[in-house]
Every structure is written in C-alpha cells, then in structure tokens.
Symmetry: C2
Subunit: 372 residues, 2 copies
Amino acid sequence: MTTMSTAMRSISSLGLCFFKPTSVSKATTVSLGVWRRTGGEMKGLSVRNVGGGGHVSVNEINGKKVINGVEKKLCVENDVEEGDESLKSFKLGRFVEKRLVYRQTFVIRSYEIGPDKTATMETLLNLLQETALNHVMSSGLASDGFGATHEMSLRKLIWVVTRINIQVNKYSRWGDVVEIDTWVAASGKNGMRRDWIIRDHTTQKIITRATSTWVIMNRKTRRLSKIPEQVREEVKPFFLDRKILSQNGDDYKIDKLDEATAKHIRSGLAPRWNDMDVNQHVNNVKYIGWILESVPLNILEHYHLTSMTLEYRRECNQSNLLESLTTIETREELESKSSSKGDLRSTHLLRLEEDKKEVVRATAEWQAKSHI
Amino acid sequence: MTTMSTAMRSISSLGLCFFKPTSVSKATTVSLGVWRRTGGEMKGLSVRNVGGGGHVSVNEINGKKVINGVEKKLCVENDVEEGDESLKSFKLGRFVEKRLVYRQTFVIRSYEIGPDKTATMETLLNLLQETALNHVMSSGLASDGFGATHEMSLRKLIWVVTRINIQVNKYSRWGDVVEIDTWVAASGKNGMRRDWIIRDHTTQKIITRATSTWVIMNRKTRRLSKIPEQVREEVKPFFLDRKILSQNGDDYKIDKLDEATAKHIRSGLAPRWNDMDVNQHVNNVKYIGWILESVPLNILEHYHLTSMTLEYRRECNQSNLLESLTTIETREELESKSSSKGDLRSTHLLRLEEDKKEVVRATAEWQAKSHI
C-alpha cells in the first residue's frame, strides 16, 4: 500500500468515504462500482499516471481523421457479439469499434421525463449506469453482475465511484431514441476512467457527454486497494483512451458549503425504501434528487441543468437523515471569477444531518430554458 | 349531467378528487389519464351498465377454446402495424389479436430493481403506464400524447384513474425480459376498464395481472363528464371484454384509516420536484413510495407485495405535505374475517397533512419472501 494521497479523506464509522484522486489521466479497469456497507477507516493509495494500457488514438479507427474523436460517429458494427439474437434485440446493446466501445439504444419512457417533458438528469445517469453495467456483463468479465470482474471477486474487491461529470447539450423527450456509447481507460496507477456519449438516434448528434472516475476497494476492510496485476490483465484489452471532455473537472475544486455560505438549506431529507440499492445503501444516482431539493422552485422551473459534477465522499443508508445545501450565483456574479458559460452556477453539499459529515459535493451550470 | 352517484365525493379547492364508480362492468374508452390541476367542486354522474361496445369473446379469437381468455397465449402477430421498422424495433411495441391487444416488451433495468434485486411495485406500474400510453399513441387516437383522443381534446376532456388493482405472482429480476399485453373495455356507461397482463418472456407464464378503472373529466370545470357519442365512436373499435381477474376489487370497500385505527403513521412526507408530472402534479405511481414509507422496515425486508389496490381520491402538488398511515394484519387475525390468501394484509391511507383530506386509500397483500 503506497502512501495516502493528499486528496484522501478518512472515513467515519457511519459510512464509506470516496476519495478524490489527485491526478487522473490513464489507469486501469472496466466497470461501474456500487456503494457498499462500510466499517472502519479507509486507507489510501496514491493515484499516479503510469500510461500504457491499450491506448487507441482516434485516427487509427476506420482510417478517418476525426477532430476530438467524438464529433463524427466512429462505427465498426461488424464485430457485434454473437449470442441469443432474440434477447439481444430486446436489450439493444452491442460492441462496436473492435469491441472497444459498447453501444446501447434506449427509448425515453413516459415516466422518465420531468415536469418540463424532457428526460431528467436522474434518468440520464440511470441510463449511463445501465449501459456501463451491460458493458461489463457483455464483456464476459462480470462476476457479480454489479461490475466486479472475476479476479476482483476472488479478492473481495469492488469498484467505487469518486466523481462524475455530465454535460448536457440537449434533453430528450418522451419517445425519443437515444444511443449511448461507453468505454473505459486507465486513470492514474490505480484508477479507471469511464466515459459516455449520448447521441440522438435520429440526428446522430451528440447531445450529452459524461466522464467518471473509479477506484478499487476491498469490500471487507473498506481500504482502497492497488489494482492486482491479474485484474489489470483482465481489463486492459478493453482500454480506449479517447477523451470527450476537454477537462473532466478533476482539477476543479468544489467549494465546501456550510451554514454561512449556503443560501438555501433543506433539512430532514429521508431516504425512502426504494432509494436503496441491492446493498441497502443509497444508489449514487438518487443523490441528485436530494441535491435539487434545496434549489428554489423558480430555478427548477425556468432553467435547465447543462452540466453537473458530483463528488462522492461518503455513503448513507436508510437510517440517515440528510441536509441539502445550495448556493446559486448568476452570470454577473460569476463573470469576475470564472469561465462559466451558463446563466447560473450552483454549488451544493449533501451532508448527514446528525454530525454534518459530507456525503456529496456538487456543482452545476444552468441555462434559461429558452436557450436549450 | 345525471345525478351524483353515492360513491361520488366532493372536492376541496386543494386538489381534484377521483371518485369511485358504483358499478363497473362495461363502458367506454381507450386510454390512460393524467392528474391535472383542479379548481372548484366536482359534479358527478352515474356509472351504469349499458353493455355493447365491441364485445369479443375469447372463443372467437383464433378459433381456440381458451379458459378465462388468458391462461393460453392468444396471438395474431400478422397484423403488426406498419411504420418505421427501425424505430418500431427499438420501441418493442405492436398490436396483436386483430389490433385489440397492444403488446410491448421490456427489459428490466438495473435501476428498476429494489434492495432485494427484483423489480419494484413502482417499476411494474411504470411499465403498465408506458404500455398503456404507447397503446393509445399507436392506435392513432392520441391527441395530446397523454391519453386523450382527438374528440376528447376538442372538448377539453381528460381521463382520470379512479382505481388500480395489481396482482403479482412473480417479480422479475435485472435483465429479465417481460412482455406486457394491454387492452380496454367498456365499464358502465361512462367509465373504461384497462387491463394488463405481464408475461415472463422466456417461460411465457403470466406473472402479473392488473386492472384499472377510468372516468372522463372536463379539465377546465373539473366536473366528471358523460362520454360524448363522438368519443365513444372513436374508442369502440378497440374494446375487448376479456377479464383477467375474477374480481377487480370494485366491490371491496377499503377501510378508511385514522389516528385511532392506524398502527403506523409517518408525517411530513414532501413531494420532490422529480415526483411531479408534466402537469406539475404528483404522478399516480409515485404514491406507492409514500404508502410504503409507513410500512415497518422488517415487513419490507421479509415480505413481497403480492397484490395491491389503490383508490385515488384527490391529487396533490409540490406544496402539499402528506401523511402515510398503515395498519397490518397477520394471517391469524385475518382468518376470521376475510378470504385473504396472503401472509399479511395491510390497509393504507395517504392524506394531506394540513387538513387530513384523503388522497389515496390502498390495501395490499404480502407473502413471506420464501413463498414467491
């Protein structure tokens, strides 16, 4: 175990903390993690660049010159997996681009849209999660169905997410068909990056981009772990180092709100039974609902979220009560101090009501609805 | 407007009440309604049998003798609708049985399962809603995309649900493929019945049955309305009088709980922004989450819901706080007074915290998880 990075945080007995890697660019792995019950303190490891790992430059794919690797559809569909044709057609997922990209198609359902008739941010993150899990399942690497590989399961290792950034250009409506591509890359020595793009199926335009950072943890000791060589060998063939966001926000520090700096505080938020995942801990997508609870209604009504970054620090379970803190700045307030392109920028903190310990820090950009 | 039925309830200025028809067997219509903002008092109409309306006996279909019309799959797939083949395959829905039944296939997603890894009751009702709305859309009758026909929209009429009963034999797991059939029938003079069955795609066994009752309302005056002849003519060709539940619970009165009779009360339940539908009122599926909030955790952990009946009485919006009341009876307590087959039976009331007015009454049956 290497020394603890400066970004590491210790955890309380209440729940697992996720740490923020100091440096993320290339690393190791292939899947999505889950929140699990935690016990004692979490020990850290450094996250450093090691490079390597199946780097594939965009120019090598299909022999086409493509700027930034994403603006044009890169598609090698002839390596679709074999399998039950009938089931495959229902599941609408398959490998493309020499099995380096997993692509799944979804129809936005009536109950996945919000009051403004477009897919909610929670819906988008749910669809990203589903695509990621199906990617791992289809890769043949999955052991437990929730992202751990065979070699990870043997060692009681799980993936935990530390950070997600999502940028939305256009929200889909009920009945719209979207196509989600996902792939993984190394991120430092002991992290993984998972990226996604969402295309509108009809126009083939990219309407959403997202990136996330994952680290590995021992589910018994709750310590962060290096990636064992055997796990690295399992996942390496899937690495595709294609960046779709100029910066994934890892170099951007999210301010920690408190009673003095938060303009809106909503207390007494209680997880519901249905917010729990299979480990009876709150699924990481559910936090978005609570974050939005402290956003004034007129903002929710008149602005779209165009970007959101979530930094996970601690899990919570059904017995925890949460507090949601929000501060919103307008474009005028922002102009002097940031490069924000939105009309509004918000900063959020979800913390445990009992001891005020942090659960999630978040920041978001908003645009007036007529702009999107 | 005919005289008010005994089951009619007046409404407050806070929200729309849905009434319970006194008699439901055959009526008129084709879709799913939505909750809408309401103003003054709701005037009623009687709901009586008028018969007629494209009754189709099961024996007439495919020339097969089929008991109860549902235990054997009745399928005429050669009348699948024309259209965009590519989009159709994504949406996985089509007409069968001479366009009298609409069938849609779904894969249970990772975020639609609960802590016990099976699809939640909320998920099942969401899928039923989606199938019903796509049924109306595919029929060519839809005007506003939320269930109203062209002739209804001309008259500012909408559908409102008064009662849903769902019976679950087996809960699906993540990745399972289910096939949902839905159809509509007359229900009294001015109501509609919509039924659904859910089959496990692999085994083709029926795993869930559901039935619901709908009435028509003027969205401006908030009065219940007779079904205009033009609307009846629109929807009549779709009627299929096939019952899939021996009784849909309309003859069963759900007890009204209060502080004295409820064993568990949970107050201060606040609708979230994402609980709102396109009319900024709570979607009727969301009530299930609040109902379950007053059910003790050990029941949620160790029992499955095998049956649930929801009786909608009043809508609510984001400014309302709700109270959830529950009473649970064991099999021993039940034996003397009912024909319940479950291990437990529960009775529920959701009411507005402010004035204690009823929003939803519900009853449910539960079985220990090892039994299902």
